[in-house]
């Protein structure tokens, strides 16, 4: 890393406030297909973003030239831009939206494999891709290990001094089966987490590989998901994305303010809904929680320096606060959270999700199944789509299983469901307990202009929803 404080001292610019944020990151992608290791890919990135505040207008200039000369040139450009557009500013900010926080954060990692010992990971990826091919009905297998090492630092003219180090991992296992022309793909859902190479635990992964391949074959042999209104039991590896799309995005304050209307979209939530709106059933409790160890988007400070604290966004079904950093809170006069985040050094911070969790309730999985007369259990997201106001959604899953008279029965392939956000969450009938709670997330949550893909975490139990429109593959 570079010494940001020295760089900050060396800047010869006139601004009301200056911040420097550096991000150094290495992403290693290790993939195997059908027993063959693909070319290893190691992506190194490093750069500095200069932020200046002049007469209430922020401007940003990012550079991968982290020399003193490079950063000073970026600072000059940022100042020139802030002055050039001063007459057109949307909102006059003050330095109070950049808290002078000081501190450090580091992901906990049990094990970090030295680069000289990484052959073991190559061998494991190859082995798993071979294990996934349980017989000739499996036509394709894929294994991906993603390892991310990131260090960010932030200093500012009003005294912020933050360093945060993240170890992040993701694993995908995939098997595609072709049984007499019926093709089905089954994956492990691509789990992601903060942590070290303990994530690549061989024995559980071998068992997972075998199960996934067998399920792909069973699904290819199974009947099509029926069409109609059913109770729907969503497992965490699907429900996390439902939470992401139909709770997370619509609660982003910058969307509610209209900033995203040209790209990601607006929101059905209005400013006056906070503290009032019954978002879903009384069983619905959702938190913004950047403090959960091991969840993908845990941190101590957001990218503006705001300290990260746990807050309820929805409590007993009532909407409490939005997902928005200090700038959006100031603009909207609404309560928010420390979630102004940028994808890297080359983008300005905007309102994002981080860890957005559905809090556990009191139902075991067995209780939810036995309470269902006519329903479908769905696992593992396959397809997702939602409108720009975050109302009308449609999801497809890899794995479906009928629930008949309180019992799990036949597998069904191509299970899909669709609905409208508000009525769907009002139909939340039972919430799973800690025994069926899982932590998921994604490396790729997209929004923003210019575009930003950010990493998010979601913890949720399984949940039961009543009276949902369900259908099968190719069936409109």
């Amino acid at each position: 890393m570079v010494d940001l404080n020295s760089l900050l001292s060396s800047l010869n610019i006139k601004a009301d406030w200056v911040g420097l944020r550096s991000v150094k990151e290495q992403v290693t992608a290790r993939s195997a297909r059908n027993g063959i290791l693909e070319p290893l890919e190691v992506d190194n990135d490093f750069g500095v973003m200069v932020e200046v505040l002049i007469d209430g207008q922020f401007a940003y200039a990012g550079t991968c030239d982290v020399s003193g000369e490079g950063v000073r040139e970026a600072a000059r450009k940022a100042c020139a831009q802030a002055k050039a557009i001063g007459d057109y500013k949307l909102f006059a900010f003050s330095e109070s939206v950049r808290p002078p926080s000081k501190g450090v954060y580091q992901s906990f990692a049990h094990k970090l494999i030295e680069s000289s010992q990484q052959q073991s990971l190559n061998d494991l990826a190859i082995e798993l891709s071979q294990l996934l091919k349980v017989n000739d009905q499996i036509i394709n297998t894929e294994v991906s290990f993603i390892s991310i090492e990131q260090e960010m630092a932030f200093v500012s003219s009003n005294g912020a001094n933050i360093t945060q180090k993240f170890h992040q991992r993701g694993i995908q296992l995939l098997a595609t089966a072709d049984v007499k022309g019926s093709v089905q793909t089954r994956t492990n859902g691509f789990p992601v987490a903060q942590g070290g190479d303990e994530f690549y635990d061989a024995d559980p992964l071998r068992l997972q590989a075998h199960r996934i391949a067998q399920e792909a074959i069973e699904l290819a042999k199974s009947e099509e998901c029926p069409t109609g209104m059913f109770d729907l039991l969503l497992m965490p590896d699907q429900l996390y994305l439902q939470i992401h799309e139909s709770i997370g995005h619509p609660l982003e304050l910058d969307r509610i303010l209209g900033d995203e209307r040209n790209y990601a979209g607006w929101s059905f939530i209005k400013p006056e809904d906070f503290g009032q709106l019954q978002y879903g059933s009384k069983l619905l409790n959702v938190t913004f929680d950047p403090t959960v160890p091991g969840e993908l988007a845990s941190y101590h400070y957001d990218d503006t320096g705001a300290p990260a604290l746990r807050h309820h966004l929805i409590k007993d079904g009532i909407l409490q606060r939005g997902l928005g950093g200090v700038e959006s809170q100031m603009r909207s006069k609404l309560p928010g959270v420390s979630s102004a985040r940028s994808t890297s050094w080359n983008r300005a911070p905007i309102d994002r999700m981080a860890n957005l969790n559905l809090e556990p309730g009191s139902s075991t999985l067995a209780e939810m199944i036995s309470a269902t007369e006519r329903g479908i259990l769905m696992k593992t997201n396959k397809s997702w789509s939602i409108d720009d106001y975050r109302n009308k959604f449609q999801f497809g899953c890899e794995y479906g299983q009928l629930i008949e008279k309180g019992q799990l029965t036949r597998l069904v392939k191509n299970p899909n469901y669709r609905g409208i956000t508000s009525s769907f969450w009002h139909g939340l009938k039972m919430v799973g307990d800690t025994s069926n709670t899982e932590v998921w997330g994604s490396f790729y949550c997209g929004k923003g202009e210019p575009n930003q893909a950010i990493r998010v975490g979601h913890a949720t139990p399984a949940c039961l929803f009543t009276n949902v429109e369900v259908f099968g593959g190719g069936a409109s």
């Binding site: 063959i36 899909n416 593959g473």
Partner: protein, 439 residues
């Protein structure tokens, strides 16, 4: 972002190679302005200078890729890349042989500079002045982009361009919106003014009370913009690798189980010069490659790696095997008579959040967005509330396709994930019977 510093660094690295080693170098760089606007004011303004060089290192039929920042500072970039080569030498020793290795190719020399000096301050101010008094939201992007390749087989390619785009929406008081895009290499104030004038006129149409339609099958016209969104949002449907893996929406077409409409022809077309005519390995695909011709399957995009794996000829697609410069050929419907030809049905201006709902059947779901209308007897009746659709490409490019308009529009890529994208989609308007809306 000058050629000389790139060539110096690249030559330094190629001179580092020892016997039995090969190297491909691929560069992407940009100097970009991003001005984000909402309510015709500036929300954020950002300038980014960034470069990334990818070293693809080969030895003893083993290979790996290492990417690192590239600053156009010859000394610093050379030093960083030399260290990366050392790490490649160590890493390659523990890798197994790669049976599908894609060794560096000699495709000769290519040099194209279409970089014009842009007064970015002028663009910013013109944009903001034109937007005054309107609920204008969007992004102005402007600046230079570089793509380049060098390798140890003698390849030397350099592509530099300056582009801009204003990707925007205008909102009416009833929250209905119209979408606009002005992009290219040469900014002309009068062109942007003309687009704004046209969009403001459309905004008036949107101020009528909104109509809610029931889910049903409707005769539907898709604007060129909606067709371009359809083309650029759907991944893998023309990929050889996806076909072999059981993930290709065109499988039934390729296998001859289904056909598409004789009105439908899709091709890759690199003749316009908007996209570098080489992939990340420096391979040069044909200038024009037919994917579907008059409803009949012609080619899937096949990278050299896929070609080796599946024992097929390569057509030098990128490693992702995605369409980089797709074009749907124009048809017989008079573009200026789009409403008249639609008659009664839905006019779709834009689409949003498309995804495969069943890739095996070629089924796609997504939403209408931005000022879509109910039309009766060729006249706009009212804007409609957004609808969700779920339909198969074998219907909208097949049995349900009535035809395309006779005018193609160009849609330069506005993608900015990680870096600014290059590329263009060329699409006409499209008329489909019995298009299925589900929610």
């Amino acid at each position: 972002m000058n050629l000389k510093s790139w060539e110096t660094v690249a030559s330094n690295l190629l001179n580092e190679l020892k016997e039995g080693e090969s190297l491909s170098l691929s560069l992407g760089a940009e100097d970009s302005l991003f001005m984000r606007m909402t309510q015709a004011k500036v929300r954020q303004v950002t300038q980014i200078e960034q470069g990334k060089v990818t070293l693809h290192f080969f030895k003893n039929n083993r290979n790996l890729k290492v990417a690192l920042p590239f600053t156009f500072n010859t000394q610093r970039d050379t030093k960083a890349a030399q260290e990366a080569i050392l790490s490649c030498r160590n890493a390659v020793q523990i890798l197994p042989e790669d049976p599908f290795i894609q060794l560096p190719v000699q495709e000769g020399q290519f040099h194209q500079e279409a970089s014009v000096l842009m007064d970015r301050d002028h663009l910013m101010k013109t944009c903001l002045e034109q937007a005054k008094g309107v609920d204008f939201v969007g992004l102005l992007t402007a600046g230079e982009i570089v793509r380049a390749n060098r390798n140890s087989a003698g390849l030397n390619q350099w592509f530099k361009t300056s582009t801009f785009s204003v990707d925007f929406s205008l909102y009416a008081q009833n929250n209905q919106a119209t979408k606009g895009l002005y992009g290219g290499r040469h900014w002309h104030d009068h062109e942007f003014q003309a687009i704004m004038k046209k969009k403001l006129a459309q905004l008036e149409q949107l101020s009528k009370p909104i109509m809610t339609l029931k889910k049903a099958k409707y005769r539907t016209y898709f604007s060129p913009s909606a067709v371009a969104t359809l083309m650029s949002s759907l991944w893998g449907f023309a990929s050889r690798d996806a076909y072999q893996r059981g993930q290709c929406a065109f499988k039934k077409l390729v296998d001859g189980d289904k056909h598409l409409s004789p009105h439908f022809s899709l091709r890759e077309n690199f003749t316009g010069g908007e996209t570098p005519p080489f992939n990340e390995m420096g391979e040069m695909p044909p200038e024009i490659l037919a994917i579907v011709e008059n409803g009949h399957f012609k080619n899937l995009l096949c990278s050299t790696r896929s070609a080796k794996e599946y024992n097929l000829p390569s057509n030098f697609a990128s490693s992702r095997e995605g369409l980089r410069s797709p074009e749907i050929l124009a048809g017989h419907i008079a573009a200026e008579k789009e409403l008249e030809t639609l008659g009664t049905g839905i006019y779709v201006s834009d689409l949003h959040y498309l995804n495969w709902s069943d890739v095996q059947q070629g089924s796609i779901t997504g939403m209408t967005r931005f000022g879509c209308f109910w039309v009766e007897k060729g006249q706009i009746v009212a804007p409609i509330k957004d609808l969700r659709f779920d339909e198969t490409l074998y219907h909208f490019w097949g049995t349900g396709l009535e035809g395309f308009t006779n005018k193609i529009e160009n849609f330069p890529s506005t993608g900015t994930y990680y870096h600014r994208s290059l590329g263009i989609v060329k699409a006409p308007g499209m008329l489909v019977n019995d298009f299925t809306f589900v929610l």
